[in-house]
């Protein structure tokens, strides 16, 4: 530096002009040194993974990042924001692994590699892919170091450290609660997350986009870990079946397209991807599903922020992203649905790449098609919705352009408006459609969901709010949800439904009539007991939720009808309008609700509608002159607290209790938590029962079978004396032993007394532990 300052300017220019250009070998070394070094470290980590946990973590990180960063480098794709670029590299890495797993599983077995998804074939593949990709990178450019380029301020390093430590604290809190040490740490972490979210709003004018994204990432990952690390096994419903399909692929050492059209087995995100990661890193599947898959979901709020930030202020964009995080279904539900964690990550990435200013022309088209391909093989429903939205947007915006062109031709005295740029092209929209058809119909034959949706639509139409009762207002607020019925009605409906099962050999009525339906024992009050306060806070949360919805609708309407006064392209307005219509249909239509859960649809729609919300908030802020910025933020925080507190069950704890985040009891906990004893009992049952057994459990008992075994056939869940077969096995869970059972018939749900007296009378108790039983 001293030499530079003391040297005359002319000399420096001269010297620069005659500076020796690095040789080709030197450039190649500059380009590949980091990759080669990291590949050596990766190989060492894989070789020592049995000894060191740190090696397993390093192998896992490098296995995704090395192919991702080098392939992105080779494609020369540079997104506008570094954070988005890193997300794109992670997405590319995961897609490359999925693609390799599928291709190698098809091609290598005939060539003498029967199990291509074992450790060494995969390690070799990661090395080869990364080396080939780094050689294809632009000369002299290091594809890995370029992601870390630029200076980081102290505050950025501090926020990044917090974004790592806070999720770890959440993990520790969840484990303490699992071990019966109380929920204090959970509660503290949860409050810190809320403070962080409030802090983001407070500091939006001072923090950089990268800092805001890091904080959003850390906060979302923490909330996700508070759920996903509950239980020694996997926590949630769908995740149990997903784990079963993963286990099948893991055991086989290769991925094969399902022969029975099973959509779960068709998704590479929960079969081939975790198998590849588990085989090479040595980390168990359970911890991959608990710890790694939430990382994909945690990218979504920062990516959504980046998407809204294209047109709006940091404050409006941050409110939109935070609203997504605090929705109950984000952490509470999606942490238990791994396929959707990956699918929605690719959907968020798709939105970013579609409208990124760093991508132009054919490169944007190719990248968007690549992300759509990753989405298609990751999750069927998310890809159907994505493709439908793209096609509708393309059609809608084409119509807008035709009208604009026609009006421009007719206008003689007005200033002609320029034709707007197209982001969602015909090629992108219809490539997506083609890929969905090829993958789901041609390759995996797993379009059952789609075909059953079409036939339901033909048979019964949209079927508006089929299960809701009460006024139209109540029905709208409740949405498309199941209704609760009494135990005796449940027994009656279950008996009616069982009449269709001609093979059933039930116990005689002379016995079953002695065991009528009864209510489950009252749950102990685990909350603080301020039921009135809890109810009031929940009502405020509902009102706030509807206010946010009103802002979304308002923002969309302004974008569509007064587009000129906004900075948002009309094409985005069309996309938002299509998404809003989709969200509305899912909320009220029973037919749509059967194929795509409305809670999850709301998150996917929310990723697009963050633009509408940001516009609504900007509009609201401009018109609220009497409110200072600080007042608005405090108001938002105070009101916003009621939404997340309601969503995560914190408000419920003020009243009767019931949050699985804070207690080891309650319906949500029983539904999601598989204990070691229950899983062991399920394993014993399946092992003893032999081929084609008849197994009965209650509604959530079957999850224990999915969690612990490869038994994939249907389990009967109408656990009532009159509907159990005489030759059947019955699995009783821990909460069953406590007296509670859950049932569902025709979308009507019931909580009732577990029929232990009946089972004790007619069956043998053949397996017994303090927390599970098996009857025969």
């Amino acid at each position: 530096m001293t030499a530079t300052l003391t040297m005359p300017i002319e000399s420096r220019v001269e010297r620069g002009r005659h500076a020796k250009r690095p040789s080709a070998i030197a450039r190649l070394w500059t380009q590949s040194a980091t990759t080669v070094t990291l590949l050596i470290l990766f190989d060492l980590a894989v070789a020592t993974r049995h000894v060191l946990l740190g090696s397993r973590l390093c192998a896992l990180a490098l296995m995704i990042l090395l192919p991702g960063l080098t392939v992105v480098g080779a494609t020369r794709v540079r997104l506008e924001n570094r954070f988005s670029q890193l997300a794109f590299a992670v997405g590319t890495g995961a897609f490359v692994l999925m693609l390799w797993a599928a291709v190698s599983s098809a091609l290598l077995p005939p060539l003498g590699v029967p199990r291509p998804l074992e450790m060494w074939p995969l390690t070799l593949a990661v090395n080869a892919i990364s080396l080939l990709a780094v050689l294809a990178c632009p000369s002299g450019v290091d594809p890995i170091l370029s992601v870390f380029e630029g200076r980081r301020s102290r505050s950025t390093i501090l926020i990044a450290t917090g974004a790592v430590l806070l999720p770890l604290a959440g993990l520790a809190g969840a484990e303490r609660l699992n071990n019966g040490r109380g929920a204090l740490l959970d509660l503290i972490v949860w409050l810190v997350v809320l403070l962080v979210l409030g802090g983001i709003l407070w500091r939006t004018s001072r923090w950089t986009d990268t800092q805001i994204k890091l904080a959003l990432f850390g906060a979302s990952l923490t909330l996700l870990y508070l759920y996903s690390y509950r239980s020694n096994n996997l926590f949630g419903f769908d995740i149990q079946q997903e784990f079963q399909r993963f286990s099948d692929t893991f055991r086989a050492g290769r991925w094969t397209a399902p022969s029975n059209g099973d959509p779960y087995a068709a998704m590479l995100s929960i079969t081939a991807l975790p198998t590849a990661l588990a085989k090479v890193s040595g980390i168990s599947g359970i911890y991959l599903f608990k710890g790694v898959f939430p990382l994909f979901l945690a990218w979504i709020p920062p990516l959504t922020y980046g998407f809204a930030r294209r047109w709006f202020s940091p404050l409006a964009s941050a409110v939109s992203a935070i609203y997504l995080i605090v929705l109950a279904q984000f952490a509470g539900e999606l942490s238990g649905i791994s396929r959707q964690e990956v699918g929605l990550f690719y959907f968020a990435l798709l939105l970013v790449v579609l409208f990124d200013v760093g991508l132009m022309g054919y490169r944007r088209t190719l990248v968007a098609i690549g992300v759509l391909a990753a989405l298609t093989v990751s999750h069927y429903s998310s890809s159907y919705v994505a493709v439908a939205l793209l096609v509708v947007t393309w059609l809608g915006f084409s119509a807008v352009r035709v009208v604009s062109t026609w009006r421009n031709r007719r206008s003689t005295h007005r200033v002609r408006r320029p034709i707007q740029k197209v982001y969602v092209s015909f090629v992108i929209a219809f490539s997506g459609l083609a890929m969905v058809l090829i993958w789901d119909l041609g390759v995996t034959s797993s379009a059952h969901n789609l075909t059953s949706f079409v036939s339901s639509m033909v048979d019964q139409g949209p079927n508006i709010l089929p299960h809701a009762k009460g006024s139209i207002f109540t029905r709208w607020l409740s949405g498309n949800v199941n209704q609760t019925i009494s135990p005796s009605k449940y027994y009656r409906l279950a008996l009616q439904a069982s009449k269709h099962e001609s093979w059933l050999n039930p116990y005689p009525r002379s016995i079953t009539s002695h065991f009528p339906a009864a209510a489950a024992p009252k749950a102990t009050n685990a909350g603080l007991g301020y039921n009135g306060l809890a109810s009031a806070l929940e009502s405020i949360g509902t009102v706030v939720g509807e206010l946010f919805l009103a802002l979304v609708v308002l923002g969309t309407l302004v974008m569509v009808f007064r587009n000129r006064i906004t900075s948002v392209p009309r094409e985005v307005a069309v996309l938002c309008a299509a998404t809003l219509a989709f969200a509305g249909i899912i909320r009220v239509s029973g037919t749509f609700g059967e194929v795509y859960n409305q809670d999850r649809a709301q998150i996917q729609a929310g990723m697009v509608l963050c633009v509408s919300l940001a516009l609504g908030i900007s509009w609201f802020a401009k018109r609220s002159h009497q409110l200072t910025a600080a007042g608005s933020i405090v108001g938002l925080i105070v009101l916003g607290v009621t939404v997340p507190a309601g969503g995560t069950g914190l408000i419920a704890q003020v009243g009767p209790g019931g949050s699985p985040l804070l207690q080891n009891s309650g319906t949500s906990y029983n539904y999601s938590d598989m204990t070691d004893q229950e899983v062991a009992a399920a394993k014993w049952l399946v092992q003893e029962a032999g081929p084609h057994p008849l197994i009965w459990t209650d509604e959530f008992g079957e999850l224990r079978i999915w969690a612990g075994t490869t038994y994939a056939a249907a389990t009967h869940t109408d656990l009532t004396p009159a509907t159990i077969d005489q030759g059947s096995w019955v699995l009783a869970t821990g909460y069953n032993i406590g007296g509670t059972a859950y049932g569902e018939v025709d979308n009507e749900v019931s909580t009732y007394l577990f029929p232990s007296a009946f089972l004790g009378r007619v069956k043998a108790l053949v397996y017994s532990s303090p927390g599970a039983r098996v009857y025969r």
Binding site: L57, E149, R176, D676, G771
Partner: protein, 157 residues
């Protein structure tokens, strides 16, 4: 490239490498901390701890007797499995109950090692006074689990 650019380029590359090394070192440190401080962390309750319990199960279910005459031998086997980290001397009992009688027909103590299973054969003669429906209960007192049970009817076999 000027000397300044060259220097700053080198410094930038150095910082970038440092960031990368920091990420990998962070992962290693987390791994080492969990491995080295496993007991400490488990004592603090922040690491997953498998449930420790005993379970009872009946073996060879298809050969369980369903109809037995008084005085005839009754034979079956059951297993005690443990996930506990220490050895347990587990008492077990076999009780026969019918409408009018309840009788202890066999008992013993099984030494069950950490994570081990022990299979116990049981054999007794059906008491002469047993009549009608009889329930056989196999219990392990103090283990916290319900006794295993199966039903028989007494009569000519």
């Amino acid at each position: 490239m000027t000397i300044a650019h060259h220097h700053s380029g080198k410094t930038t590359a150095g910082l970038q490498r440092l960031a990368l090394i920091a990420v990998l070192a962070g992962l290693l440190v987390i791994g080492v901390a969990i491995q080295a401080g496993g007991t400490l962390l488990r004592d603090a309750g922040v690491l997953a701890a498998p449930q420790q319990y005993l379970a009872l199960s009946l073996d060879n279910l298809t050969s369980l007797p369903s109809q037995v005459a008084p005085g005839d031998p009754v034979q079956f086997r059951f297993t005690i499995s443990s996930t506990r980290t220490g050895t347990v001397d587990q008492k077990w009992t076999v009780v026969l109950s019918s409408a009018n009688t309840k009788q202890l027909v066999a008992q013993g103590v099984a030494k069950v090692g950490a994570g081990a299973t022990v299979t116990i054969p049981v054999s007794f003669a059906m008491p002469q006074q047993a009549s009608g429906d009889v329930t056989v209960s196999i219990g392990a007192p103090g283990g916290g689990m319900a006794p295993l049970q199966f039903h028989m009817t007494t009569g000519t076999s």
